[in-house]
């Protein structure tokens, strides 16, 4: 294992049992971003920028912080962590987000 990897990164989903920490303890803090949980879902939100007014109602509604905001504008979804709950779709007044089956 690469020593530069954080403990959480070593605990990736394909790791061997020997790579696990003892008792599955995790000593890195604030590491949820390193656990890619986007594969859990079968649907994914799709952003339609042409309909978006940048009202930013969607960004704080996301329970997994998967809608990045930069310079007062939202960007593309972070699908590596989106679990497909659809709350963002409900929060958008302009139909700028739709839920699609993740092929």
């Amino acid at each position: 294992m690469d020593k530069k990897m954080t403990e959480a990164q070593k605990l990736h989903v394909k790791c061997a049992w020997q790579d696990l920490t003892e008792g599955l303890t995790i000593t890195d803090a604030a590491n949820s971003v390193e656990f890619e949980t986007g594969l859990w879902t079968t649907v994914k939100p799709t952003f339609h920028p042409e309909k978006c007014k940048q009202c930013l109602l969607c960004a704080p509604a996301c329970p997994d912080s998967c809608i990045p905001v930069k310079d007062c504008k939202r960007g593309e979804f972070d699908l590596a962590h989106c679990k497909g709950c659809g709350i963002c779709v409900a929060s958008c007044p302009f139909g700028a987000i739709t839920m699609e089956v993740d092929a």
């Binding site: 605990l11 049992w17 696990l20 003892e22 008792g23 599955l24 303890t25 995790i26 000593t27």
Partner: protein, 419 residues
């Protein structure tokens, strides 16, 4: 405190409590239950008298005592608790939590029958019920061994190759309350032997963060269990290493099991716990009349010394496997199951008979042991000991045998068997 070994007369409970005083653990949560109550009772006196600086926590149940011991261990403390019977049953969930989180805490278990019928006396239905919880289990024949095992406990469980909780078991009332002449090590010798507990990862580490016991989905659970199994696989060597070190300070030798007059033995009895004392007397008596019988007393049941036991039994013709707990499998008791598996893997040609004895505190007497050996010899003489495929009860009242002429009774559906 005294600096030399000294002879004392202690009950098994006081012997274990004394070992704990010498170890001076950090945290001891406890809830009373017969016959283990005296251990925390003695210990709370030590706390009150300033002999230890342990945090003693009286809790409201055994579920809580084990939870608190786990919490303390996770926080970085050397912790333990004591219990018996239903107390252990109430800890069942936490026993798994302690082991899977690799927390090296100790449990002083005083073995007692589980309900029902409700009974406060010795058998192994509590400890054997907890045999698959991931704990190391070490059993004592007498008070000296209970004390010695307790002194060795933390060195085994805290070892980096093991890091698993450890159950130090003794027989309820038979050793826990009977007073025996025994030897105590000097306080300093125990302190030096056990050493300070310096965990690498613990929740109250001010220099680092830590999350303990995370949810593990299907992608991780098998790997986590396999990693945990490595601890118990490694434990055998560590137990033997610690025993060797212990011999240096005590002069007393311990292994995974004790072989008693097994050289040239044709028939052997295998058992756990205090009944070994009785069985040794029977073996001595039979040896005097030229019968080639021997005894193996299992000390370490988890990890199970399968290969070692099969090797020690490789020369015998017949084996009486003695279980002090019903597992209601219809196929015998836990020691019977595990040992016959070990013998099968070793391609043993010996026949085995699995005997239930001593349930709920029923005495196993010298005469019973002699009769069991006679029964083994009679089965061997028949040439086809087919009864060995089932299991039998010793010292039972059976309607078909009002005068108690039979030694043991075969367990099978619609039991009508005589002799």
């Amino acid at each position: 405190m005294e600096e030399t070994k000294r002879r004392v007369q202690l009950s098994g409970n006081e012997a274990v409590a004394t070992a704990l005083r010498q170890i001076n653990p950090d945290v001891f949560p406890a809830f009373p239950i017969t016959p283990s109550t005296e251990i925390p009772q003695y210990f709370s006196n030590y706390v009150a008298n300033g002999l230890v600086d342990t945090e003693f926590i009286p809790v409201e149940s055994e579920h809580s005592s084990m939870s608190a011991a786990i919490g303390a261990s996770a926080a970085g403390a050397r912790s333990l608790t004591a219990t018996s019977s239903c107390g252990l049953a109430l800890m069942w969930e936490e026993l798994h939590v302690a082991a899977s989180n690799r927390l090296p805490l100790a449990l002083a278990l005083v073995c007692r029958a589980l309900s029902g019928p409700i009974n406060i006396n010795c058998d192994h239905s509590d400890s054997m019920g907890a045999r698959d919880c991931g704990w190391i289990q070490i059993y004592a024949e007498d008070n000296q061994e209970a004390y010695d095992n307790m002194v060795q406990a933390y060195r085994i469980s805290e070892h980096p190759d093991v890091r698993l909780p450890i159950m130090i078991c003794q027989d309820g009332f038979i050793t826990s309350h009977a007073v025996m002449d025994m030897e105590l090590l000097p306080d300093k010798a125990v302190k030096d032997f056990v050493g300070e507990y310096e965990p690498e990862r613990y929740l109250l580490n001010e220099n680092g963060t830590m999350a303990l016991g995370p949810y593990a989905i299907t992608d991780y659970y098998m790997e986590a269990r396999r990693a945990q199994a490595q601890g118990i696989l490694n434990a055998k060597k560590v137990i033997l290493d610690v025993a060797r070190d212990f011999e240096k300070i005590s002069g007393r030798k311990y292994g995974l099991f004790e072989e008693y007059r097994m050289e040239d033995a044709e028939f052997a009895m295998v058992l756990i716990g205090s009944a070994a004392g009785t069985a040794k007397d029977a073996v001595d008596k039979m040896r005097e009349s030229g019968k080639k019988v021997g005894l193996i007393k299992i000390r370490v049941f988890r990890p199970f010394p399968a290969e070692e036991l099969a090797a020690a039994l490789s020369k015998v013709r017949g084996i009486a496997i003695m279980d002090r707990s019903e597992s209601f499998s219809s196929n015998g008791g836990p020691i019977g199951s595990e040992l016959t598996q070990a013998l099968y893997h070793a391609r043993s040609q010996a026949f085995t008979v699995n005997y239930m004895y001593g349930l709920g505190g029923r005495d196993l007497q010298v005469i019973h042991v002699e009769e069991i050996f006679e029964e083994l010899m009679a089965l061997a003489a028949k040439g086809d000991p087919k009864d060995s495929v089932s299991y039998r009860y010793v010292g039972l009242r059976d309607i078909a045998d009002p005068d108690h002429k039979q030694i043991s009774y075969l367990c099978k559906p619609e039991n009508t068997e005589q002799a």
